[in-house]
Point group: C3
Chain length 117, copies 3
């Protein structure tokens, strides 16, 4: 349907959906399972950059983000260090960060965002 644009779609999920003027990017995780939250966060944000690009925008258009950490006490500071360096000055989205066990034990961080098309 032309008012919904789905990008990288399979039977389970789309990586990106554009609708109602917004760009939704689902929960992204790192393919590199090295147990280092800074590395995994960097990989996740690199994927998000790629999906924003496929949607025709970039990270200056971020509206809202959710971050899940497998161990928030241990990894909150490390995730934030990489996150803060990634966010364009003056363009920070709203954010909520909570702890959650993710789809595999090796995943330390998952991030979903909404942006403006």
């Amino acid at each position: 349907m032309s008012d919904i644009v789905r990008i990288d779609t399979n039977q389970r999920m789309s990586r990106v959906v554009k609708a109602a003027g917004l760009v939704f990017i689902g929960g992204q995780t790192s393919a590199d399972l090295t147990p280092d939250v800074k590395l995994q966060t960097a990989k996740v944000l690199e994927k998000i950059d790629g999906f924003l690009d496929k949607a025709g925008i970039d990270k200056t258009r971020l509206v809202s983000a959710q971050v899940w950490l497998a161990d928030i006490a241990r990894d909150f500071a490390g995730m934030n260090e990489v996150w803060d360096a990634w966010v364009p000055e003056g363009c920070a989205p709203t954010r909520a960060t909570v702890q959650a066990q993710l789809a595999s034990n090796e995943l330390l961080v998952e991030i979903a965002v909404v942006a403006l098309a």
Copy 2:
């Protein structure tokens, strides 16, 4: 207010809210508490189908979904089996799935979605 349509509203929450061209359906759980994630997922998706219908649309309009599982290691595959069969081909929303303890110990899965009006 005519620019916000609320469906099945009580003092705590609405099951559905239409606004800004989108349809929001809050976190739905199964009334049947049988400890079987496939059954509970099917019941949740049946409820979501009903709420989409009340909003005048159907599951081909799905934009985004969040899934919470009480035990992601045990139940991820079972939930996905029912989910994958439910999603219309080519219409998958973005999705994030994490583990979370839900409002009662008997609830195994909760799903919230956003769709396009």
Copy 3:
């Protein structure tokens, strides 16, 4: 960019972002860390009222909410008591409430909302 309005923005996050006709308020927590979920919920909702006001709207415009509780078995009823009293009659948003460890052990509740501009 004039089509995105960011309020109370730092390098990590904005407290409020307006875009696509919606107002996004990120996950808010209580500055008062007294271990009382009713008190913390009241403080969170007071902050949300303030951010809605900065966005030029009020709680009658709520569309969707997510609530995270550090101990859902213990604190669900207490949070709901304060929440139910706060929601304007007939204006309840959709909602999802799950348990999650929050950014510090003393935080008992975190709430994020989406409203209509």
